[in-house]
Symmetry: C2
Subunit: 343 residues, 2 copies
């Protein structure tokens, strides 16, 4: 991602950008225990983008607590649970992934969730002004999960009938959303309260549930907003329309854990002789620029498609949008692309 | 690499950018033979950046010659022999890497060299005007190796005493240079004739051999120039000077095949408590921006350091330059970083 073109989905514009200089609990004791238990001599540490600058201090603390251990910091991009650095994982005796819920379980991996210490209740006070009485769905992101029960209680005390659910098996916690999965908002309520930083998650949530009002309570930037998908939908319709003239298609298969939708890619290939499979880990505009396809369909992370879409040199569609562009489905079926179930 | 900031080492500014629309021999028969011999159902195809746009046509030709084979095109960045897409290789029954000499040998990998069909002799006519009589070293890149013998003969017919050698085990062919290895120019002659496109290789060659005159005969862009390292050296001295104030260091270990200089990285870590190991495959300014180190030392591809150096937000040094910056060596020892031997 280039420095001068932050997109809507860029974590650097979200709570992860650390507007408040929060302290996190890195659970050093748990890591040290694992190191000792396994006689580890190499330990890999992976941080999300917004926390990479904390890596040296965490490594220092761990060095002070251990002996003869080489700590290796992952320099791979990390925006979510999918971005597990499998190379470093293989090369480490113990591998620590900070800030995301588990995507792949392994003896070797320690997931440290990094809960936010920002108090969500002041902004909830503001958010209730935007809510109708009665039923409300409540969702949040991994780093606010530690206060989820309290938030439910807080709303119930104020007379709301709070609805929550654990989404599907892709989600670890009740009420949790991912950038690619909003199954925890599949609730009867007509309104959903999203508590968390940034636009990344709530925009996806609103796209997935266009029939609901999505109220965004952002405790990090201290603002309440209502999700507005109109600009976003216009962009998506624009991309689909431009792709309708495409003859050749690059079908992107993402090689990251949790992003490989092989059946979708294979189906497109089997039905379209002018479709070509392109495999890659990071899907970026620079990497695709040298390919001479008329359009792309991305079977990997849906947020790359929708959030970074305008930065690609050719139309970049989700698999559902592709079906519309090639005439298999009517334009009215345009919807947000999400990952459900396992991977 | 962002679109608006091509660096000196960017292949898109070299012969690989296909100023002449050359035809290449993709050796389809050899590939089809391998597919049949191994009953392959999945075939991976990897092209250098400048040839990625040819990928669909090559896949089409192969599809016409085979049955029930899924062709997968690598979308990973590919600038050299180090950029082997090991993920796609593991997922393919047959894996074809176009345009570079072998970096790793495997039953499964077919290397297709892609020799240039540009005639080098017209530009050699011009180049001899810049050469002194007598001894001359001759070097070229992988894609002109097919005419190397003829070039030697051509120069000898004109009275030159032509010196050539195969470099070290990193190099496949006599007279071949890589962006990171100029051992084939370790010759007694005071002048070296480099035949090939772009600035990428000859600049490294001139840096490695500052005592020699390096004449560049570029048959692709049809120009003859003399390599000038002055601007380049100023940049390197500038980076070293800026890094002299650094307290914390990010020590980059590149995970690509052929780029892992673990001993160098480990040595720096063992001697400097303020040095932290960062592992990654692609080393780009974007990926390092979120790390809060005062300076970086790159043990991976030396061309990333020297060619892309000014684009990083903090000084980026070679291991040799690091030794100078921390005071272990005098400034006079600044030299070009190359990879010798095996990997």
């Amino acid at each position: 991602m280039s420095n001068d073109a932050y997109s809507e989905g860029d974590l650097r514009k979200t709570g992860m950008a650390l507007k408040h200089d929060r302290e996190w609990d890195y659970e050093l004791d748990r890591i040290v225990d694992a190191i000792e238990e396994r006689d580890a001599t190499t330990v890999g540490l992976q941080f999300p983008e917004g926390l990479k600058r904390r890596a040296p201090a965490v490594a220092d603390d761990l060095r002070a607590l251990t002996e003869d251990v080489t700590f290796m910091i992952s320099g791979q991009p990390c925006y979510g649970a999918c971005d597990l650095d499998t190379f470093l994982m293989r090369r480490s005796d113990v591998f620590v992934h900070f800030g995301h819920s588990p995507m792949k379980e392994s003896e070797k991996i320690i997931y440290v969730p990094l809960f936010s210490n920002v108090d969500p209740f002041p902004i909830l006070e503001d958010a209730v002004d935007e809510l109708q009485e009665g039923e409300v769905g409540l969702v949040t992101t991994a780093q606010h999960m530690n206060r989820f029960g309290e938030m439910v209680d807080w709303l119930e005390e104020r007379g709301y009938e709070v609805q929550t659910r654990r989404g599907d098996e892709r989600l670890t916690h009740e009420g949790q959303v991912l950038g690619c999965n909003y199954a925890s908002a599949d609730l009867p309520a007509d309104q959903v309260l999203y508590v968390g930083g940034g636009k990344f998650h709530p925009l996806g949530l609103a796209m997935e549930h266009p029939e609901k009002t999505v109220v965004i309570a952002d405790p990090v930037n201290n603002v309440v907003t209502i999700a507005d998908t109109e600009k976003f939908m216009k962009q998506r319709f624009g991309a689909v329309h431009r792709a309708m003239d495409a003859r050749t298609w690059g079908v992107i298969f993402c090689t990251k854990i949790g992003q490989g939708r092989w059946e979708q890619a294979e189906k497109i290939l089997s039905e379209n002789d002018d479709a070509y499979l392109v495999t890659m880990d990071e899907v970026t505009p620079d990497r695709l620029r040298n390919f001479d396809f008329d359009a792309f369909v991305n079977t990997g992370c849906p947020r790359i498609t929708t959030d970074d879409g305008p930065r690609f040199h050719k139309p970049m569609l989700t698999p559902g949008e592709y079906e519309i562009a090639v005439g298999n489905k009517p334009l009215e079926e345009l919807s947000f692309d999400t990952f459900h179930g396992t991977w």
